[in-house]
Structures are given as C-alpha cells and as structure tokens.
Subunit: 250 residues, 2 copies
Amino acid sequence: MSGVAFPRLDRSVLADDGDALTFCSTCAFSQVCLSQGMDKSSLQDLHMLVEHVGPLHAGEHVFREGDPFEAIAAVRAGTVKTYSVDRDGREHVLGFHLPGEVIGLNAIDGDHYPCNAVALDTVMLCRFSFPKISVLAARLPGLQQTLFRLLSRDIGNASLLAGDWSADERMAAFLIGLSRRLAARGFSPDRFQLTMARTDIANYLRLAPETVSRVLKRFQDEGMVRVDRRELEITARARLEGLAGAILRG
Amino acid sequence: MSGVAFPRLDRSVLADDGDALTFCSTCAFSQVCLSQGMDKSSLQDLHMLVEHVGPLHAGEHVFREGDPFEAIAAVRAGTVKTYSVDRDGREHVLGFHLPGEVIGLNAIDGDHYPCNAVALDTVMLCRFSFPKISVLAARLPGLQQTLFRLLSRDIGNASLLAGDWSADERMAAFLIGLSRRLAARGFSPDRFQLTMARTDIANYLRLAPETVSRVLKRFQDEGMVRVDRRELEITARARLEGLAGAILRG
DNA sequence: CGCAAAATTGATGCCAGTCAAATCATGTGG
DNA sequence: CCACATGATTTGACTGGCATCAATTTTGCG
C-alpha cells in the first residue's frame, strides 16, 4: 500500500491493464479532463488516440531536446524531470512532473521539443498525439477548454520561481507545492519521497546544493520537517506555509 | 514618423479608423494569426468579434487582479505592464507587452484575472471575448492552433528570467529582447524608448533600481549602449548579445 | 519657480555561492 | 561477509555580488 503514501508505481492500478477503458478512466489526463467538466462520451473519443507508455526506468528519457514534437504526455505514475542544457553544458531543471500532470506543452509552439524529459523513478505515461488531439479538440469544446486551461496554468507556474525569493522561501514553497500536488492526486500530503536528487532540487530552485542541505537541516532543527535521506515529513505545515505564502499566493 | 522608430501611437495607422476591416487587418492579433497561416476568410470571422479599445492613457488599467475574466487583448500601440501585488503590498512586474503581443492568456485557467494590466503610455487595444473566440476556434483550426502556440510560447518566456543570472546578463537579455520584439513589429531595433520607469525594469529583472542604474551606466562606459533619459541606443549589439546569449538561447 | 517623484552615486552589510574536506550510502569484487 | 570505490550529501570557512541605507542630483509638472 506504499502506492498510496508515495508517488510510486502502484500494482493495484496496473492490474486494470487488460481493459483499456477502465484503465484509461483512472489515467491522469482523463482525470484532469473529467474534473474540468468533460463528459464521459467525449472521454471515449480521447481513449481512442491515447497510447500507453512504460514502464520507463530511472534515467530513461521520455523525449530529448530537439526531438520532433508530435505528442504531449500525461504522467500516470512516477516522477518526470524536465531540463535543458545550455551552450556551456550546464543543466537547467525546468520542473518535476507528478502523476496527473502533463508534459510537452511548451513544445506546441515549435516543431521540436525545447527541453529534455527524463524519468526519475519508474514512470508510466499516457501519450497523446498532438495533431490528433487538436483535431478532436475542435469537435469537443470541453477538451479544447481543458487544453487552454492546462497551458494557461503552466504560464502562471513558470513565473512562480522567477521572483527574488530567499533560499528559505524557495525551499518552503517547493515542499508545500509538492505536498499539495501529491494531495490532489490522493497521496499523503505530510509524508512523501523526494524522488529527485538534492542537486536537482538545488538546480530547480536556483540554489547551490550546499544551500539546499543547510536549509533542510535548519528546517529540521526548527521542527518544521523531519528528513531522512529522501524521505520527508512535514511536521509544522502552518509555519512552512507561512514561509511559502509569499511565493505561492503571489 | 516617430511612430516607426518608437512604439508610440501612430497617427497614420489611426487614420484608418473609419473602416473597421482595413483597420483590423493592421491590428496586432490579426497579424499574428496571418503570420501563423490563417487564411483571409477566417480573419473576417475574427473581425466580427473584435472590439477596439482605447486610447488608454498612461496609468489607466486594462484590467485589474480579481476582475472577472472575459477577454484577452492584443496590444496595437503603446506598452502595457502586467503586475501583481503580494499580501505585503509589494508590486511584482510580470512583463511588458508591446504592439503585436497578447495579454490575458494567463487568466484562461480561472474565472478572474490573476494580475493587473496598466498602460505605460498611450495604448490601443483589440479586445477578444474569450468565450466567443473559443467557439470560433473550434471552427477554425488555424485559430485554435494560433491560440495554442501563443499560450505555449508564453510558458517558455516566463521561464527565461527564472535562472540565477547576473545583473549584467539580465539587463543585456532585457535590452536585446526588447530590441528583437520591436524589430519583429517593424520598429528600429537599435534605437528605441524605454517606456517603463527604471523601478519597473528593476522590479521585472528582480534587481534593485540602483543596480539597474549602475549597470546601464557601465554598459554605456563600455560602449555597448548610449542611454539618455528613457531613450536607448544599442551601439555594440554583438557584445550585448554575447552577454544575453546564455539567457535568450538557454 | 518650486515641489515631489525619479534617478543617480557612494558606503556598508549580508545572503548565498564557492572552495575544500569529511561523511555517508550504495554497489562491486575478492 | 568485508574492504574498497564511487558518487551523493553534508559541513565548515571564506568570498563576492547585489541589496540596503543614505545623500545628492535631475526630471516632470503645475
């Protein structure tokens, strides 16, 4: 039952694999569509163009920068890291994508993916051909609306970390953000795995790895979290949210 | 003819105001659509739901945070600043929007605008009811595609300044970015007005106003720009692009 | 002209990055 | 099963870039 507590591959869900429809109605993207008001019959159309991918293992890529863009994908299980590599060879982590979240949206404006996407643990995906889903979206107002909203939401998210926040605020916002996103998918909001390395967190938050270490340690000393290796427990949510508030609320 | 050199209200364009169609075919959003492959007959449908707004004067708001979301808008002339105000009352500048650019896209995911939009100088707008344009997009694949691409592009843009860049890199990227966007609309890329205050630039780049002042002065001492009040001339584009490259290319 | 806001310039301090080294975790081969 | 190698993480000491504070100059506008 660790699948409930942690964003890992959940065997009980995989068991549905024989029945594509049942399977898909638990799939991340379908859930998103449903929660945004799409009706069931529209979902059936969606299922006809979905392609299930995985399991991918840690380190395997979903797509790479420069690959021809043809599809977006919804994460069904696991964590996907998106990143780009600048001309100096330095990596820039763009985001971490949890179950229920969609990757590849920033590729729509262009023929090629503008970044890499790699699995951090065991990952299951639903893949949607973008040309096909565009055609379908013209027939299904609900789907079109869902895509518009997904895209719009990403614009807001991308701006969150752009501010001149302190290391403490960044880390708090990162943890609270993770917690909320996991909670939205039915995982425990208070105890979860940091599926990414400290260096990835640091890179994503634009901090030095050493700073990530120090801030986490101080958060623990101050009783806000308990952290052991990559396992994290939030022990004083209110205070953490206080720190994160400036970033998350805006 | 200063309307060619600077992003100001251009009387020669306004003269077309009597003929809505001719007027609209020079309107920013239409130009965007055309440049992305929409045909002329589709444009006529667009014109039927466009509403021309303006002139707005410096300090007047296009929309405010919390206003019910009903429309996106294309800037036709002038500069629009988008910003939010956090709980501590501090302003956060999200972006500057030049002629040809679309504002309000980040409001699609939600019933209300998540930020304020204010005119920095004399501004003309084309306003598009979003419900109406959504319906139209279902009939016009080109329009749907255009909207998808506009949204997708904004996701990428929002990430640009998120990195841990130096003050010099940020300023260079800001100036080169402005220059390119102005050039794309037919304005001079080498000599233009900074329509926003230094404090706005600083806020947008997440620097102190004092730092903006010092960096601009140093850029001038090093011969890369000539700056007089709010007028700016780029005198060594290559070097400036070298500095900005890390940010703009990624 | 005269005031208020904006912009510049100088002096100082702090947060977080950098460098360096120790510690820990994990996997491998003997 | 243990010794060792390797990479990740932590910890400490030091440094630097940018913010902050303070004072002055310039601009915009009635």
